[in-house]
């Protein structure tokens, strides 16, 4: 019997880095893949302090608690977020962080850790402001939570109409991240 697919992700960083949007694209990809999905943002005092995070669950089975306490995958866009969640990642899990912004203090040898200079690359590649999707591309490549085609479709579904001109940039950023 095939083991049912289950993946829990935490995406964390500063407000304005596209943390919640990144999570939404991942959740939408799961929806398009026919999976059960949930997306839960932080809306507590930490949000007012400038940090933001969201938990995403992708599963073949109905999702119980959408609150992610033991993620399979952590995507960290700043140092406080990396340090806050690194210890919670399941052994054998995957950690993707923005090496331009994160200076890791805590190391883990039982998880796979990838530092990607996403902000620097986004500046060099004229993808300012969408370093988050470079990290999403890397996450896709390392975890296989979905396919590139589905993620592209999810981006088209998730980008609001007033930002429609950014869709192709978003897709280019994902491809760039996948190749790193």
């Amino acid at each position: 019997m095939k083991t049912p697919f289950e993946m829990a992700l935490i995406i964390a960083g500063f407000g304005g880095q596209g943390v919640l949007f990144t999570g939404k694209v991942i959740a939408y990809s799961g929806l398009l893949d026919g999976r059960e999905v949930s997306w839960l943002p932080s809306y507590g005092p930490e949000m007012r302090g400038g940090t933001a995070n969201c938990g995403v669950c992708l599963s073949d089975r109905p999702i119980g608690s959408p609150l992610v306490t033991r993620p399979d995958v952590l995507v960290a866009m700043n140092t406080p977020s990396y340090e806050k969640f690194i210890g919670a990642v399941k052994p054998g899990g995957t950690v993707i962080y923005d090496a331009t912004l994160v200076a890791p203090v805590t190391a883990r040898d039982d998880v796979r850790v990838f530092g990607v200079p996403a902000v620097r690359l986004s500046d060099e590649e004229s993808l300012e402001g969408i370093s988050n999707l470079i990290l999403l591309g890397k996450t896709l490549a390392e975890t296989g939570f979905s396919t590139r085609e589905t993620v592209e479709q999810a981006i088209r579904k998730s980008v609001p109409a007033r930002k429609g001109h950014l869709i192709e940039h978003n897709i280019r950023a994902v491809k760039l991240g996948m190749g790193l």
Partner: protein, 355 residues
């Protein structure tokens, strides 16, 4: 199947209310239900309806009273402290036999409390949503899809029995996104022959009022109302039973905590423990017959809530001492984890269910 959208519970519920024929929405902002107001402020004008951000929760509930008295499908939404402010208006709605839908996206209390998810308003919703002898319908969705489906039932039953209905959700359900489908309907509410201005002058005019200075007249009105409540109790309690058939440990949970408990029940089953869950979909009327039947088959009951223990009192009341009833809760905005609940189930199992 229609298209599946990825939406927050708050937004999905607001959209469903519009599809259910609600054209009058009044609110005052409060976290964690703000998306309901924000969504309605965009959507309602396009639907030809009225969105009004009132100067207070008290004003908003009284605008609902006015709209309902005129025969409109009216709704308001808030979160715990704001619901407390609405209780006077809810009592007046009940005393005037007016239907409406009130959404409570619960947060931690008492007082201003916090803004994280909570289920500590169970007593308020089911016991004292306002002063006086009264009942209101209380629905408890646990998924974004159920947030949508519940709205239609809430309006329908509220109007059929001419009483307020509350949807008792929480910050977790309001804030989370899940796939959701909307029914392909655009409900036109049935005419309200009792509404003010609804008759053509051939009969005495309709009066909406909750004041009866003659005690025997008031008593008669209340008795008539309680006859309707009795009909509601007989016909409209609902619950989901999950793996209860052979369950030796029966968990009881609603709303967000039922999601956590479902995972814990699955984990317990994986360990060979016969656990099940009864999940009320209506808190008033409470699914007492279903609970009694499921509890009679089990050796122990475990109620899980995001409170210090409120629904557990109903579980004890309706099982009448026939089975030990245990409680586990987190409160103040803390959401229990499946591991914590599993630990409780394992402990009861080790004790042979009799604790």
């Amino acid at each position: 199947m229609g298209e599946r959208f990825l939406m927050k519970g708050n937004e999905a519920l607001a959209e469903a209310a519009v599809l259910a024929g609600c054209r009058h929405f009044f609110c005052y902002p409060i976290t964690p239900q703000n998306e309901v107001c924000a969504y309605m402020s965009r959507r309602m004008p396009k639907a030809g309806g009225t969105f009004l951000q009132a100067e207070s929760e008290i004003a908003a509930i009284n605008m609902v009273l006015g709209a309902s008295a005129a025969g409109a499908r009216a709704m308001t939404s808030s979160s715990s402290p704001g619901i407390s402010l609405k209780t006077e208006g809810i009592s007046y709605l009940a005393g005037s036999d007016l239907p409406c839908v009130i959404l409570n996206i619960q947060r931690g209390g008492p007082g201003l409390g916090g803004i994280q998810p909570s289920q500590a308003d169970y007593f308020q919703a089911t016991r004292a949503p306002g002063h006086g002898d009264l009942r209101i319908l209380v629905f408890s969705p646990a998924t974004v899809q159920e947030m949508v489906d519940t709205v239609f039932d809430a309006f329908d039953l509220a109007e059929r029995y001419r009483m307020p209905a509350m949807i008792l959700a929480d910050g977790l359900l309001g804030q989370m996104m899940e796939p959701v489908e909307f029914p392909a309907v655009d409900v036109t509410p049935s005419p309200k022959p009792w509404a003010v201005g609804a008759n053509d002058g051939s009969r005495p005019r309709n009066v909406i009022n909750s004041l009866y200075l003659q005690a025997d007249v008031l008593e008669q009105r209340i008795r008539e109302r309680f006859e309707r409540y009795r009909q509601v109790e007989q016909s409209h309690s609902r619950c989901e039973e999950y793996l209860t058939g052979d369950a030796e440990i029966l968990t009881v949970a609603y709303g967000a905590s039922a999601r956590v408990v479902r995972t814990a029940v699955n984990d317990a089953r994986d360990k060979g423990i016969k656990a099940g869950m009864l999940r009320p979909l209506t808190l008033w009327p409470f699914p007492q017959e279903q609970l009694r039947a499921a509890a009679a088959r089990a050796g122990a009951v475990l109620t899980v809530e995001m409170s210090m223990g409120q629904m557990v009192e109903d579980v004890r009341l309706y099982t009448g001492g026939s089975v030990p009833v245990h409680f586990f809760g987190r409160t103040g905005g803390v959401v229990p984890t499946p591991a914590e609940v599993l630990e409780q189930i394992e402990r009861l199992n080790a004790e042979g269910g009799n604790g």
